[in-house]
Structure formats: structure tokens, C-alpha cells
Symmetry: C2
Subunit: 311 residues, 2 copies
């Protein structure tokens, strides 16, 4: 029975989904990993994959495709670029997986791009010809799909929408070294920072924050009527609406999907965001839909499986 | 012998190219037209097309595809939107052409998008998987190609790169009703306006200008050492480089091609433009090429023929 594996590679563990070729998620497992740079580490991964299959009555020969998503650039040819946040030897892992699953087609995908493909395959974007996935996490990632295909980019920078410049007057630097990137305002880090600035401007004490990306507490404060939280979230939505309007004059997608931790507050900022988009967009694009993504943290796992199936 | 017609629809005449299916331009003609909204006007067009074929020894049955480019939006399904600058009944003309050339596949394409496709078929972008055509004319148009396909957009606004916001502080309005669009600075109109502002700032008399889009005179002044012209052209290049950097974080194309009247001054601003792009772009995209287009005013005629051949 043909099976597809989707592997979401994180810093301390990998999450694996076993899918039917029609896109049903049939089983999931988590495999603790350290650095994935040695034959011993590759074996931990491949043994974990084999166990997932065996536990469900399948073997290595049932696997027709294995997709892996990584938190870093992957170019149009599937080559993995510099990975800043995890220790992974992509070629080594690829070779080990290939030896274990000789029938399988392998593919690497950038994690935000994978989330986009997952939503396209089985989520909110099912059947869409074009859309842009906006992943509002610690940073802001994106996945651009047009003509049913992901735009990875000639240099692997396709969908790096967190680095659209939204404020040319910004003096603080983004992680990328440039100033005024969307990510500085609309990521989890950005929302928490904007909230602290709004509190300081009002001489208010911020609510207790569990670290620099704790948007949950900011959203909770907003729901409880905290004016600084409201202002911060409104700013975040305005910058995001502006950035989406910039995307629309270039790609003009059918819809935008919001995922990542910050999208947990979607109902708090959806009206502001849609109003901002309509204010900034070019007239023809005014009815572009802006919706929450539906697969949550599983989206990238779905998408890497889907990508690997494309052959 | 299979032939393809590419028709470039202008306000007072149409230009028609007869192509081989391999992309050789074998003959060209210009047909004077007025409003193309009546059966009589459609007949002027179809008779002109038949004459072009007959003059070269071919007939209506040789025509396998007819492409028409229009100065306005065309959506992903080939439907023509509102045409502000010409009087054309697209459905009527389409029906008349279909009756005349029963074998032919017909397609409408936006003119800037057509120029992009022309460059992809037989111009500077031949063989490129992805690129963006930047048409610097009276306004600024664009054509976005990814995976070898044009991105027309869900609402026909794909490639409307003249409306990327490059200056959020602008108070003057663009033709689109928004403020700070690329088109306000990097179109022919924009360059001439910036030049006049620079002259005023310096208390200088501008050189004689033959209307509001006479970039030729501004370029000539620049070559003769006019400081106001130099400053205006440097500003235009800076805004354009900034806009291209915004495109690269979304699409990350392999190259940019510059066409349209303003690109006639390419050698005057190429260095500034490339430097601005490198200053504003995200690191992975730094070696993206920026080149002049090669088909000049024929690009759209090539591209509409090419699009019609795609079936």
C-alpha cells in the first residue's frame, strides 16, 4: 500500500506524519533528535520512520515519497541553503533515507513553503490556483503559490514576505540587517515589542509576559480591554495589510492564509487587517480574501509530503 | 504552413506580426483603426490580417493562433477588464477573428505581460525560468513570469509593479488614487517631473521639454552634464531599485528586464539602479541580474503571438 512520509524537522525533535497518497494523515510520531549530522543520528531518524510504519502494519517498500521541511532556504532545484537554527547535514540524511526507502522520491522544502503546500493539499487553500501563506511565528515567513505551484525563487528567497519593507523610517534593524521589515512588527516578537512600546508611551505597566514572543498574553490583555494591547495589535494589522497590498500588485493572489502562533489572535485583528488591506490595495484586488489557515502546526508536515509526491 | 499572428492594439492603429511557430517574425504590417467597436471596424481588422497573409503567400487556414495585447487588465482566464485608453469591444473582435480564422486559437494578453512573454520567447529572457519585465513608459507596467508562466493574477492585477508603494510620505496622488507609487517616480512622466523639481530646487531653468513624458531631453541633458537631470535620474533609479528589492522578497526572480521608453537611458542609470537594488535587497538575491530588454516595441507583438500558441 503506497504511503508518503512528511517530516517536519525542528531543533530538538522531528515530527513525522504517515499519509495515504490521497492526503489522509493516518499516523503521527515524534522522534527526539539532537544534531542530525552523523551516521548515528541519521539511523535514529530512519529507525524511527521504520517503527512508525511497522506499528501501522507497513514496511519500507510501501513508502513512495518522503518530504522533509527545514527552517531555511531551499531553492527551486530542492537544494538546501544555510540553516541558521538547526544542526543538519541534508545530503547525509537524504542518503540515509534513500538507502532505507529505495522506492521513495525525496524532497526538501522550506518550512513556510511547506505549510503553504499543506494548506493547498488539504487545508483552507484546497483547490486555489493562487494564494499566499503568511506564517506569523517568531519571525514572519511566507509561501507563495501561483498556478498551483510553489514559488521557491531563483535564489531560495521566494516567499520571504517577512522582509517586505513596510516602514522606510525605521531605525531599529531586523535580523536580516535591513530596517523596517514586516517581521519587525507582525511577528510574535514584533507584537510583544509593539505592546511594550505602547505601554511605555502610556506610562502603563505591561501585563506579565512569558518571554519576548508571548503574544498569548498580549491577546489575553487585549480581550480584557488593555488599550496598549489594542493599539499594538492594530499597528501590527496595519503593517500586515500594507504588506499584503504590496504582494497583490505583484502576484495578485486569490487569497491570503494566516498561520503561525500570532494567527491564534485572528479574530482580534481580522477586521483591522482586512480594512488596512482594502485601504492600501489597488482597486482590482479589493475583494481578495484573507482567512486563517486550517492545518495549524501540521501544515508543514502535510506540505513536505505533498511536495515529495510531485516527483 | 502554420502561422501565428501577434496583434498589438493601440489607440489609433494596430501593429500585426506574422510569425512562424518557432518564433521567427516573417512580416509586419500596421492597420489604421478608429474605435474597434462595430462590425465595420472588425472587418477592417480582419481584412488587414488577410491581406498581410495573402501578400506573403498564405491564407486564413494557415493561421493556428492569434494573440492580441491590450492596454488594460486581462485575468488568468483571458477575460479583458476595463480599458481606460482605447475603444475596443473585445468579444466582438474575438468573434470576428474566430470567423475569419476557424483553425486559430485566440488569446488576449495585457500589453506589459505580453512584452514579458515576448522577451521570454525570443528576447533577453529566452530560457529563463523566472523573471520580471519592467515596462518604463508613460506609466510603469510589468510582467511577472515564474515557472515559465505569466502571473496574470486572480483579479488581473498581476505584474502591476508600477503601483508598488515606494514612498509612504508622498502627498501627490498617483493615477490609481493611491500615493507614493513607483510609477510616480520611474515612469517617463515621473522622470520629467523629478527633473523639473530638481531644476526648481536649484533655481535652474529646465532644458526645452517636448511635453510631460520627454525623457529623451532629460537624458540628453544628463549626458551633457546637467546636474538637475543627473539628480532626477539618480532618484528614479533609487526608487526603482527599492521596488525591485520588494519584488525579490516575494518572487525572487532570476532576472529583471527593463523595457519601455525610459529604458532608452539604461546606460545612464544602470549603475545607480544595480547599486540601489543591492542596497535594499535581501542577501540571497544580491546577484539577481538587471538587464535591458531586447525586442523593443515589438516585444508585446511577439508575446501575444506566443500566448495564443499556448492553447
Amino acid at each position: 500500500m503506497d504511503k508518503v512520509l512528511g517530516i517536519d524537522i525542528g531543533g530538538t525533535s522531528i515530527k513525522v506524519g504517515m499519509f495515504s497518497t490521497e492526503g489522509h494523515l493516518e499516523a503521527v510520531t515524534k522522534i527526539p533528535t539532537g544534531e542530525i549530522t552523523s551516521e548515528a543520528a541519521f539511523a535514529v531518524v530512519t529507525e524511527g520512520l521504520k517503527k512508525l510504519l511497522a506499528d501501522n502494519g507497513f514496511g519500507p517498500d510501501d513508502v513512495v515519497a518522503v518530504g522533509l521541511d527545514v527552517p531555511g532556504p531551499v531553492d527551486d532545484n530542492g537544494k538546501v541553503g544555510m540553516l541558521a537554527n538547526i544542526e543538519l547535514d541534508p545530503e547525509g540524511l537524504q542518503a540515509a533515507i534513500k538507502r532505507t526507502f529505495p522506492r521513495a522520491n525525496l524532497a526538501f522544502v522550506n518550512d513556510a513553503n511547506a505549510a503553504a503546500l499543506g494548506e493547498l493539499w488539504q487545508g483552507s487553500a484546497k483547490g486555489a490556483a493562487s494564494f499566499v501563506m503568511v506564517a506569523l511565528g517568531t519571525g514572519v515567513g511566507g509561501g507563495v503559490v501561483t498556478g498551483g505551484k510553489l514559488v521557491s525563487g531563483a535564489f531560495g528567497a521566494g516567499g520571504e514576505i517577512g522582509h517586505i519593507t513596510v516602514n522606510r523610517d525605521e531605525t531599529l534593524s531586523c535580523g536580516c540587517g535591513r530596517q523596517g521589515c514586516l517581521e519587525q512588527y507582525s511577528s510574535a516578537t514584533g507584537v510583544v515589542r509593539l505592546y511594550k512600546v505602547e505601554c511605555a508611551n502610556r506610562g502603563m505597566e505591561p501585563v506579565h509576559l512569558d518571554g519576548p514572543t508571548d503574544t498569548l498574553s498580549v491577546f489575553k490583555a487585549c480581550r480584557a480591554g488593555d488599550e496598549a494591547a489594542k493599539a499594538a495589535i492594530a499597528q501590527m494589522a496595519d503593517y500586515l495589510g500594507y504588506a499584503l497590498a504590496q504582494i497583490s500588485v505583484i502576484m495578485d493572489p486569490q487569497m491570503y492564509l494566516l498561520g503561525g502562533g500570532v494567527s491564534g489572535g485572528f479574530e482580534l485583528f481580522a477586521d483591522d487587517l482586512r480594512a488596512a488591506f482594502r485601504k492600501y490595495c489597488l482597486a482590482p484586488s479589493i475583494s481578495t480574501r484573507i482567512l486563517p489557515a486550517s492545518l495549524g502546526n501540521d501544515a508543514a508536515m502535510y506540505g513536505s509530503a505533498f511536495q515529495a509526491m510531485q516527483g
